[in-house]
């Protein structure tokens, strides 16, 4: 039994003439945290969206649990139930309470009983210290609180891996810390994560592997130590210097 959960092999994605992913290969093992770094427009977000079939790919293969997502027999809804996704702009459902936001997926996608899900959702809110805000609507919460709710909303589906798309980029600097702390906590508990981020110190602390993307090409991949102290490629060194 291999420990590879997600594997990308020479993935190509085009938007019209524009080739955003040019043959990306990457694998993610169980309990592994991989950070994607690179300038805006380098293809990080597109890569994450391809991984849970929000975008279709134009070349290469993506494999989840050894099954190719390009297979016609694949049901995208089943795929997405195993993959949690968190967005830059939170995307909480404004017409539902915090608690209902968290319960929506388990109840309507997994068809689980409301009563069972209810206790789990409260336990998740407890974990992020927002249990007493359960019945409030998302717009009453701060950006950092909303993003933490969005993270536990995806955790409520008990996914095998989490995709995080620049989850702190829309936050006030003072609120970034609480979200990164939660992600660090998840990493320490063995959550498998693929994280697109601009937070270099966070990437350095939390990742097992860091992958540097530039213009749709995976330039270099390595441990944080290799990447930050002894990058092979000039482009990687320059990017990390500028990002300091």
């Amino acid at each position: 039994m291999t420990n590879v959960i997600l594997e990308l092999d020479s993935v190509v994605k085009r938007f019209g003439e524009n080739e955003v992913l040019r043959g990306i290969s990457l694998s993610l093992h169980r309990h592994e945290v991989v950070c994607l770094i690179g300038a805006s427009g380098s293809g990080k977000s597109t890569l994450l969206r391809c991984a849970n079939l929000l975008e279709t790919i134009d070349g290469g293969t993506i494999t989840l649990f050894g099954q190719s997502l390009g297979d016609a027999r694949i049901d995208p809804n089943l795929v997405r139930r195993h993959i949690g996704m968190v967005f830059q702009s939170f995307n909480l459902f404004p017409h539902l309470s915090v608690l209902d936001n968290i319960m929506l997926g388990p109840i309507y996608a997994l068809k689980r009983k409301r009563a069972d899900v209810h206790d789990e959702a409260l336990a998740l809110l407890d974990r992020i210290g927002l249990r007493e805000r359960a019945d409030e609507f998302p717009d009453r919460l701060s950006g950092g609180q909303q993003q933490r709710v969005a993270i536990v909303r995806s955790l409520a589906m008990q996914p095998s891996l989490l995709l995080l798309d620049e989850v702190t980029s829309a936050l006030d600097p003072t609120l970034v810390g609480e979200v990164l702390d939660l992600l660090t906590d998840l990493a320490h508990h063995g959550t498998t994560m693929l994280i697109a981020t601009h937070e270099m110190n966070f990437a350095k602390d939390v990742s097992h592997q860091i992958a540097f993307l530039e213009k749709g090409v995976l330039v270099e991949k390595g441990t944080p130590d290799q990447m930050f102290n002894d990058p092979t490629h000039e482009a990687t060194r320059k990017f990390l210097e500028r990002s300091r």
Partner: protein, 296 residues
């Protein structure tokens, strides 16, 4: 040009008082101006009503309170149907039509957003339907349905009361408008909501039902109510089929009494019917606006 800020201030102090004219019409002084304009308008209307060449004839035709009362309570001997009975036809017509319109309008909007390849022909049909129905004046739809269905001589559908055909025609016509309003509402929901719901593994159907539509309907409640206000008034068009609703009753009294008081009574009825709805719509829009301002 110097970028030195001091040069700007070194000149004269800028004048902040408005002109004499704007002083009279703006701010607290505006009360004086608005009272004056109200008096002018009222006087002008009164002059038209009492000093126009045909003023006396106009008043006896439209403001004969005795004849207005007769048309309201009816006079079986003179063959005048009571408007106070006829108005219930208008009320039940729009109440039933509203429910049906919501149902069919939502179905049309839903079909046009569906993804299933099986529904492709229905998507095309729904588009064509909405184009055709919005192109035909509603009174023609009423005439075609109201004369067409009886002409078919079918066992049940051809023998219904005239007002029922009116409801069918209003539903056919208004569903097209309402589906467009709902579609606009669906488009107004940010794409991130769809992405978030689908990422949770919800099907297209659940996403629409639990995430997109609840938000879409909230945004379009004011325009939807606007359509329903029009609908309430358009029940009068069913008179074209000869159904005894309030406008038809008014016309009957007009013919029998040689007096237009019934038309005024019918107008008052529609005002009483629609004003609460209009006020409520305005209230909802104002509330929505304050909420959006508070959040931005």
């Amino acid at each position: 040009m110097s970028l030195d800020a001091d040069t700007e201030l070194s000149g004269e102090v800028p004048r902040l008082f408005g002109s004499k004219r704007s002083q009279l019409f703006a701010g607290r002084r505006g009360i004086v101006a608005s009272s004056m304009s109200i008096i002018v308008v009222v006087v002008a209307l009164a002059l038209i009503l009492f000093r126009a060449p045909g003023a006396a004839a106009f008043r006896s035709y439209f403001m004969n309170f005795h004849d207005m009362w007769i048309s309201w309570v009816g006079d079986p001997k003179a063959g005048i149907s009571a408007m106070r009975d006829a108005l219930f036809t208008n009320i039940w017509m729009f109440m039933i039509a509203e429910v049906l319109i919501l149902f069919f309008g939502l179905s049309l909007a839903w079909i046009r957003f569906s993804q299933s390849p099986v529904l492709l022909p229905f998507r095309i049909l729904a588009t064509v339907y909405s184009d055709i129905m919005r192109g035909i004046p509603i009174i023609l739809v009423i005439a075609i349905v109201g004369e067409g269905l009886p002409a078919l001589q079918l066992p049940f559908v051809s023998k219904l009361p005239l007002a029922v055909y009116g409801v069918v025609a209003l539903t056919l016509g208004y569903s097209a408008y309402v589906s467009e309003v709902l579609r606009a509402g669906i488009y107004s929901v940010p794409n991130g909501q769809l992405l978030a719901a689908r990422s949770l593994g919800l099907t297209h159907r659940s996403t629409m039902r639990r995430v997109i539509l609840p938000q879409a309907v909230r945004t379009v409640i004011p325009p939807l109510l606007n359509d329903f206000i029009s609908l309430q008034k358009d029940t009068a068009l069913v008179s074209a089929l000869g159904a005894i609703e309030i406008f038809q009753a008014a016309q009957i009294s007009q013919g029998a009494l040689f007096n237009g008081g019934g038309l005024v009574v019918a107008s008052i009825f529609f005002i009483v019917l629609t004003v609460p709805m209009t006020r409520f719509t305005d209230y909802l829009m104002a509330r929505d606006r304050t909420r959006r301002l508070a959040n931005s």
